[in-house]
């Protein structure tokens, strides 16, 4: 039940919530299928499978790659929609404000908060400075994964327009290194997911601000206005 002394704030648009969960599903599928493509683990031995029909199986490389590519293109589309949402709604672009002093103070305060050091007063944010930074990190990782991924995808068709755009990625590194970079960054998503999910749950348990359900309902609850409320309502409104 909602504590009576808390005020609701509508933070995330429906747009963001839908594509957040789309991306969760896509990244999960991409990570596990990607691991399989990098190191196909299900071992088949001569005699255990019939080569003629193996290509249609669920764990054939063909199928796993197909899932990987479909998920990848859905992810790219979701990212485009997320960018649109970010332009349309203020609550969808809670990015770090590097030019503001409050951001840099916020980093230190949040670190103290997570290290459980004593603080002079309680800080409440719609989204704290560390979280803002980490989301930018995720977008950078997504961008690199998409660039290297499409560069690899286009290697099969070096004459298409996709290749025209993304072939320079192969030039920056080598074809093999592009595969490796794509693979290395994927593990970053796993680490991010673990920490992200933990911190969201921790926030919800400790602050009772509806952090976890906010990605379903879009609502967060605070007793007083959070310090970065300006980012949600704009500089003029209070």
């Amino acid at each position: 039940m909602l504590p009576l002394n808390k005020k609701p704030y509508r933070v995330f648009s429906l747009w963001l919530r839908i594509f957040h969960w789309t991306m969760v599903l896509c990244v999960t599928a991409l990570f596990w299928t990607g691991l399989y493509i990098g190191n196909p683990g299900f071992q088949a031995t001569p005699g255990s499978v019939e080569p003629t029909i193996a290509v249609g199986g669920w764990f054939s490389m063909e199928m796993i790659r197909k899932i990987h590519f479909i998920a990848a293109f859905i992810l790219i589309a979701s990212l485009v929609f997320r960018i649109y949402g970010g332009i349309r709604y203020r609550g969808d672009r809670l990015f770090p404000r590097f030019h503001k002093k409050s951001y840099w103070i916020g980093i230190w305060d949040t670190m103290k908060h997570y290290m459980m050091l004593p603080q002079q007063r309680e800080h409440r944010f719609l989204r704290n400075s560390l979280a803002r930074t980490s989301y930018v990190g995720v977008y950078v990782m997504l961008f690199l994964e998409i660039c290297t991924g499409l560069a690899m995808y286009a290697q099969v068709y070096p004459d298409t327009w996709v290749a025209q755009i993304f072939n320079p990625v192969n030039l920056l590194f080598t074809e093999y290194q592009v595969h490796m970079i794509h693979h290395y960054i994927a593990w970053g998503f796993l680490l991010f997911t673990i920490i992200h999910v933990y911190l969201a749950f921790r926030e919800d348990v400790m602050e009772e601000s509806g952090e976890v359900s906010s990605m379903v309902s879009g609502m967060k609850f605070y007793p007083t206005d959070p310090e970065d409320i300006e980012d949600l309502y704009g500089p003029n409104k209070k």
Partner: protein, 400 residues
């Protein structure tokens, strides 16, 4: 024995056609007539040429017309920091008839490795060529260019190779980088690159440069690139990295005859298992086919006899930039290049994942413990306050 004979034959042919020929050079058709070969043989050669050049059959007429009229191009062939394996590959392109033709279609005026016995006069010949054929000759370069110690790690005719290269590059119509050394720096450029060897294209600027990488490149590819110029008077269409599209337009992976096994998820686990005998995909034992552009899958080697994957060994990606640093060649994921590590990224990622999971649980535990501790402290404080108030009240009561 057979190869030796072919070699001797090839060198003879080279000497016949290539060396010390000062009179005007003829077209292919004239050459065939001189050799008393029939028009039918000529036409067959032209059809074969069209196929090797990666052109559609409809262009055969153009190839024939060009072969009748175009003069054979002069080629100067330099050798730098390398093993001369590309030369070995090149002279072996004589075994099929079409390749024999190709070899005879260029006027190979200078090749210091093949004419090492000629000595000093040959160097004079080079200088004569540089002047008389200025702007017309094709410069083929094999081998990397070491730069440290003023280039003295590689000396040709008593001079640093980098100087020779710059001198010869100046009047060249265009430059062909034969082999991975000339194209990317080669094995000697492997980390930590002790001689600071670089590719030809990082030394020579402002010239059209064709990269024909490979260690060595396929003989028919080497000759085919020159042929394209000989017949059409222009360099073949190049991809974004400067390689001729007709030979480097496909990955080995996409032309591999073992590709169906890859798609089906049927992989060789060890070189001595049943899957290896059955000819399954070599992806898991480190095949670099998915990252390598070359013609091995369709042209193959030694007159289409075989290529590494067909022989049961994965591709090592010898035509790719930096392939020498992508070890281990027998693993899909290489070890991370840090001293004293014996791990790959998947192991590292799994450990880091579990580490993060453990850290998160520990952090959560500490958070809850601290929360509990804080509330107990608060309760104690509250009780103490209450007690103090009560005592105060009692004292007040007793006072009254």
């Amino acid at each position: 024995m057979c190869i030796t004979l072919i070699c001797i034959d090839a060198i003879k042919l080279l000497q016949e056609r290539g060396f010390f020929v000062k009179e005007s050079l003829n077209s292919l058709w004239n050459l065939f007539q001189e050799r008393k070969l029939s028009r039918r043989t000529f036409m067959k050669s032209c059809v074969a040429l069209t196929a090797i050049l990666g052109l559609p059959p409809a262009l055969t007429n153009k190839v024939v017309a060009a072969a009748e009229t175009k003069e054979l191009p002069t080629v100067i062939w330099l050798h730098g920091h390398e093993c001369t394996g590309c030369d070995e590959s090149f002279i072996r392109s004589t075994s099929p008839f079409a390749s024999d033709v190709i070899l005879n279609m260029i006027a190979l005026e200078y090749d210091d490795t093949l004419a090492a016995a000629s000595g000093e006069p040959f160097e004079h010949h080079l200088h004569h060529l540089l002047e008389s054929k200025k702007g017309k000759y094709v410069l083929a370069v094999e081998g990397g260019v070491p730069l440290d110690e003023n280039g003295s790690y590689c000396q040709v005719g008593g001079r640093p190779f980098v100087d020779v290269l710059k001198e010869c590059a100046e009047g060249a119509a265009f430059i062909i980088e034969y082999g991975s050394c000339a194209a990317w720096g080669g094995i000697q450029a492997a980390k930590p690159n002790p001689t600071n060897t670089v590719s030809v294209s990082s030394i020579v600027k402002g010239k059209k440069i064709i990269k024909v990488p490979g260690c060595p490149p396929i003989p028919e590819v080497m000759t085919g690139v020159i042929m394209h110029y000989a017949l059409f008077g222009e360099i073949p269409p190049l991809d974004v990295e400067g390689r001729p599209k007709q030979f480097y337009g496909n990955r080995i992976h996409d032309t591999c005859y073992r590709r169906p096994f890859f798609d089906s998820g049927l992989f060789v686990e060890h070189f001595d298992d049943d899957a290896s005998k059955a000819g399954w995909c070599l992806y898991k034992v480190g095949c670099r086919g998915p990252e390598t552009y070359n013609s091995c899958g369709n042209l193959r080697w030694w007159n289409g006899l075989s290529y590494p994957i067909q022989s049961g060994h994965g591709c090592i990606g010898c035509s790719e930039k930096g392939f020498w640093d992508n070890d281990n060649f027998y693993q899909r994921l290489p070890h991370i290049h840090t001293p004293n590590t014996i791990t790959d990224v998947d192991t590292l990622g799994t450990v880091a994942g579990f580490g993060a999971f453990g850290a998160v649980i520990a952090h959560g535990g500490i958070t809850l413990a601290k929360h509990k501790y804080d509330s107990i402290q608060e309760e104690k404080k509250y009780l103490a306050e209450q007690e103090a108030k009560q005592k105060e009240a009692e004292q007040k009561g007793s006072d009254q």
